[in-house]
Structures are given as structure tokens and as C-alpha cells.
């Protein structure tokens, strides 16, 4: 059972796409290497576990590739969140990661964590 309590304003996540590389495979067939960077701060006075869910269709559209086909994707090993992938909750269209965030420090400063996800979106045309 899940209870939705509202938007957690004390958890701040800054998400940027740091890299978008297009590589031709054959003919008009391309692979795309995409690196997403997350800068995460927990301003709560208790530790939390943050679930990050990345929609592959939305991401493909975000990098300017639009079609109705399913997204063929894989997580490249140099991602910092590789071992945080929840394979049970992830689907063909959604990658789910769990990130542990420590509580705010004694000086009231939140610890900023930086993580990257390196995804390869394959066989697009």
C-alpha cells in the first residue's frame, strides 16, 4: 500500500543531460549514448531513500528522437548508479534506482551527492 503525502520540498534534485552522442550503426540505424547527471541534496534532518525513475520514451523524446517504437536501452557500466538499479521495479520503459541520502549535517548544510546514469539507446531510425 502506498500513501502519497505530497511533494518533498526538502529533497532537491537537479537533473541535467550532460551528454548526447549519436553513432551510426548501419545505414540510417543509430545508437545514442546519453549521460544524465543528478545533483541531490537532502535538507531533512533524517536520512531518506530516494527512488529515481527515468522514463525511456520521455528521455528519447528529450534528446530529439521521436517515434512510436519501444525503446531498446541498456545501462552502461560506467554509471555511478549501476549497482542501484532495481531490476524488479524496472521495466522496458522505466529504469528505477534507489539512492540513500544522509541527513543534513550539524552545520545545517546538506551533503550534495552527484550521480550519473549512462544509457545507450539502441537501434533507432
Amino acid at each position: 500500500m502506498k500513501l502519497y503525502l505530497g511533494v518533498a520540498k526538502d529533497i532537491v534534485v537537479k537533473r541535467t543531460i550532460d551528454r548526447r552522442d549519436q553513432k551510426r550503426v548501419l545505414g540510417n540505424l543509430y545508437d545514442y549514448d546519453v549521460v544524465i547527471k543528478y545533483e541531490i541534496e537532502n535538507f531533512k534532518d533524517q536520512p531518506v531513500i530516494l527512488d529515481l525513475a527515468e522514463s525511456m520514451r520521455a528521455l528519447r523524446s528529450e534528446i530529439g528522437v521521436n517515434n512510436q517504437r519501444d525503446v531498446e536501452w541498456e545501462l552502461v557500466a560506467d554509471s555511478t548508479l549501476t549497482d542501484k538499479l532495481d531490476e524488479k521495479k524496472s521495466t522496458a520503459d522505466q529504469a528505477v534506482f534507489h539512492v540513500s541520502l544522509p541527513l543534513r549535517g550539524k552545520d545545517d548544510k546538506a551533503v550534495k551527492q552527484t550521480h550519473t546514469i549512462h544509457l545507450r539507446i539502441k537501434n533507432e531510425w
Binding site: 551510426r24 548501419l26 545505414g27 540505424l29 517504437r69 519501444d70 522496458a92 520503459d93 539502441k122 537501434n123
Partner: protein, 472 residues
């Protein structure tokens, strides 16, 4: 005989009938001796057979038959002599122009005395419906299954002490009786004799209807004895129909309904199956109660007519809880009855795509209808475009059973295109595009049924069907 409509049969005592019907001297209103109603639900049609005793005098006797404010089909009214048939002759039938819902029969009699007549006709406005009450035991293994029929008379006429029969099945009727009854009969010029008026009316197609009437009369003569058995509802097959005869007689007043028991089924075994069939039940896993209309299931004495099933569950604490109300279609003897209880909140079903990938690409060279596949060693150029590929999808059906009993599960999905269904689940094909999985999920178990779909796309598509492939 109390009439709401004016459905009367009268004898005019004048030896000769004047041309103007208003001058007929009516002195006798013979009551019905017997009346039999045979109700065809599929066509809003009821065959009425009534017998009356009429006193005749030698010579020509005019008989008046009227049907004001009723829904009788005038073209179907027929007169026969059950007694003294050799001494009575129907000379003609006249429809007076100033009395549109009336006819006269001119009967020549060679005797003085009583004779029994049979008048048959079709009417609309009498209908019947079936309904069923089922009560499941607390363990949901056995149920009582009781059938009822409800007869409703809105024909405009009371039928006292009528034998009532209900016909299950569809007959072929050219025109609706209600339309014929409301159309009025014939014009002034057409009123000279019955046969002529029928021909001129044209659209009545009375010959076909009389043929049907004759066939029904012959059929019912065969069944007549059964209808007079001691009080119970007798069921019998007849041609393409099935007839339920209500025990004894019933008085069917206009505007009234009457509900009677059709059969009782005790301790009827049933099984439960969970089904996912989106085309039939929508996008949900539904719980089905399945039982069979046969003697093994302590039913099967009769086909079950279309009707409403109301299902209750004995909660084991001297109370009932209402489960569903569902319309069922005609169930022949031996066929399964399927009751859909809807989604079960204690059984969770999810369908998740867990991976998607593509391979087996084909390319077409720009400006030429030549195809190249890297998998066949062909060299692909920069301007070659993808025209064929295989789309792979890995899926999982996740079922969580929170009940305290194992459940039987059946999942049926349909796919368009040229599709391969790969699994080790021993699926079957329900039709050319619908694989079907079955499984048992134990109490408290979380089960995953995994399979792969391969969609041959573009140049790779050679068929439009689903093929099953087993993987180890």
C-alpha cells in the same frame, strides 16, 4: 368473461345476414370453454387457441368476432369446427366497413343444436421472461440454482383459466403482429370477402402466416397431452423450439404479471476460474463461476432460456451476501454456464514489459527495390534505410494470490501482425492470433509467467498470425 379489450364472439340469430352489420341482432355471447396461449418471446407473438360452444340453427348463421382495443393480428384469425364438422360450413368472412375491428363469419348449418368451435389467432403484447436465483455455499463449491418464469400480459385482453406455454427458440415471422394489429384491417372496397381482402392488402403475406399457423397447430396437437399433466412445468423439445407448459391453467389478466417456478437445482457443483480476456471482460482479471447444465451437475432437465441470474453467497452466519446480477443467453442442455463475478481484490494481476530489443534488420538501397541484410553478409551503405526488423519484447504476467485457496488462472491475449510467442509455459492457441496460458497459483503465492513476443515488422512480416515456440 371480463374483457378489457372487447374480444367477443357473438351469434346473430337472423337467418340471413343483412349487408349493413349494424342491423345484425346479436343475442348470444358464448363464453370461452378453453383457451390456450403459446408465447413466442423472440417475436412478440402469442398463438391463442380458444374453444367456444355455439348454438346453431339450420340455415345461414352469422357469427361476429371483434377485437377492439386488443393487439390481435386480424389476418390470422381462423375458425374451425371441432364438432359437427360435416354439418357446418364456413361460407365466407366479411369485414364491415364501419366497424374496423370486427368480422362476420357466415356459417351454413344443416342441424339445430350446439357445436364446438375453435378460434385461433395471433396476438402480441404477451411476453415471458426467465430469471434464476443462485445461492453459493460458504465454501464456494456447491450452489442452489432455481429457475423462474414471469409472464406479462399487455395484450389488452384478459385470458381466464388459460393453458400457458412458453416457447424457447426463434421463429421466422415476416411481419410483426403488433404492426398488423395497429394497421387496421382493410379498406371499404376490400371488405367484401376475407380471401380477397388478404390478397389486396398484399403486405399481410397471410399465406405464409397461415402456413406457420397450420404448422404450429399440428405441433401443438402433438404436445397437447403433455400440457394437461398434473401441476408442474413440463418441458419438451419440439422441432427447433423448446416448449415450457405451465401446469394446469392460469388466469392472465391484462396488465398483470405472474411469476412461477421453472425448476429447482440443489447442490449444483461449480468451479472457479480466474480469466483475463480483455475482448470479453475488459482489461481486468475476473473471477468466474463455471457450472454445466447437465445431469452430472444436477441440472440438465431443460435448456435455460435467456434470463437474469442473481447470485448470492451464503456467508455461513445465517445470512446472504449479494454477488452479481448477470444476463445469460440461452443455455442448451450440456453447455457450460459462465457467471462473471468481476475483479477480485484479493487476486492481483500485473502485465509488465521488462525488456525490448530489435534485430534481424533489412535495408533497402536508395532508389532501388533491392534488399540487404547484414546478417546475411551483405554490405550496408550509408544511405540504405531500414525496411524490416524483428521487435522483441519480454513480458511477465505477475499474479499475487492473497486468498486462502489455490486459484486456477487463464490468460488469453490477442496480437496483431506476424508474431512469435516464445515461452516454456506450454501455451495453446485459442485462435490464430490469441495465445492462452493456464496456471495454478497457490494460496499466498506470487507467481510470474514470463514469455517473449517477436513481432516481424516491415520486410520481415510474411504472415498475420501468432506462432507458438517452446524454449527450454
Amino acid at each position: 368473461m371480463k374483457l378489457n379489450g372487447i374480444l367477443t364472439l357473438t351469434l346473430a340469430l337472423l337467418a340471413t345476414m343483412p349487408t349493413a352489420a349494424k342491423n345484425v341482432d346479436l343475442s348470444t355471447i358464448p363464453p370461452r370453454d378453453t383457451v390456450q396461449l403459446t408465447i413466442y418471446n423472440s417475436e412478440d407473438l402469442t398463438l391463442v387457441r380458444e374453444t367456444r360452444t355455439v348454438t346453431f340453427k339450420k340455415g345461414v348463421n352469422p357469427l361476429q368476432f371483434s377485437w377492439a382495443n386488443t393487439l390481435i393480428d386480424p389476418s390470422s384469425v381462423d375458425l374451425r369446427f371441432k364438432t359437427h364438422a360435416g354439418e357446418l360450413e364456413l361460407l365466407d368472412t366479411t369485414f364491415p366497413h364501419d366497424k374496423p375491428q370486427m368480422l362476420y363469419w357466415a356459417v351454413r348449418s344443416e342441424m339445430d343444436g350446439d357445436a364446438e368451435l375453435e378460434v385461433t389467432y395471433f396476438t402480441s403484447g404477451i411476453s415471458w421472461s426467465a430469471d434464476y436465483v443462485c445461492i453459493s455455499d460458504p465454501a464456494e463449491e456447491l450452489m442452489s440454482f432455481d429457475g423462474f418464469v414471469r409472464i406479462t400480459n399487455n395484450s389488452g385482453e384478459d385470458y381466464a383459466d388459460a393453458q400457458v406455454r412458453m416457447v424457447v427458440g426463434t421463429i421466422n415471422l415476416v411481419e410483426k403482429v403488433r404492426e398488423l394489429a395497429q394497421r387496421g384491417l382493410v379498406s371499404r372496397d376490400e371488405a367484401k370477402d376475407y380471401e380477397r381482402s388478404r390478397r389486396k392488402a398484399g403486405a399481410f403475406k397471410a399465406d405464409a402466416k397461415n402456413e406457420l399457423l397450420s404448422k404450429l397447430r399440428a405441433d401443438f396437437a402433438m404436445a397437447e397431452n403433455a400440457a394437461r399433466q398434473p401441476k408442474k412445468i413440463v418441458k419438451e423439445g419440439l422441432s427447433e423450439y423448446f416448449i415450457f407448459s405451465v401446469e394446469g391453467t392460469e388466469t392472465m389478466k391484462n396488465g398483470w404479471s405472474k411469476r412461477m417456478r421453472l425448476f429447482q437445482g440443489h447442490n449444483v457443483p461449480f468451479r472457479i476460474q480466474y480469466r483475463y480476456r480483455p475482448q470479453e471482460y475488459g482489461e481486468q482479471l475476473v473471477r468466474m463461476f463455471l457450472l454445466r447444465n447437465d445431469t452430472v451437475s444436477r441440472l440438465g432437465s431443460t435448456p435455460l432460456p435467456d434470463g437474469v441470474v442473481r447470485l448470492y453467497r451464503d456467508n455461513g452466519r445465517d445470512g446472504l451476501s449479494f454477488s452479481i446480477e448477470q444476463q445469460i443467453k440461452y443455455v442448451p442442455i450440456g453447455q457450460e454456464i459462465e457467471l462473471n463475478l468481476g475483479r477480485d481484490p484479493e487476486v492481483i494481476h500485473e502485465w509488465v514489459s521488462i525488456r525490448s530489443w530489435r534485430n534481424a534488420f533489412w535495408f533497402r538501397r536508395h532508389g532501388a527495390s533491392v534488399y540487404y541484410a547484414p546478417g546475411k553478409g551483405h554490405r550496408i551503405k550509408i544511405n540504405d534505410a531500414v525496411v524490416g526488423w524483428d521487435e522483441h519484447q519480454a513480458w511477465v504476467e505477475r499474479i499475487r494470490n492473497y486468498r486462502d485457496k489455490p486459484i486456477d488462472l487463464q490468460i488469453r491475449r490477442s496480437f496483431d501482425g506476424h508474431v512469435v510467442f516464445r515461452s516454456n509455459l506450454e501455451p495453446s492457441l485459442n485462435d490464430y492470433r490469441s495465445p492462452q496460458l493456464t496456471a495454478q497459483v497457490e494460496a499466498g503465492e506470487k507467481k510470474e509467467l514470463r514469455y517473449e513476443l517477436v513481432f516481424h515488422q516491415g520486410h520481415n512480416q510474411k504472415q498475420t498470425n501468432v506462432t507458438l515456440e517452446s524454449v527450454n
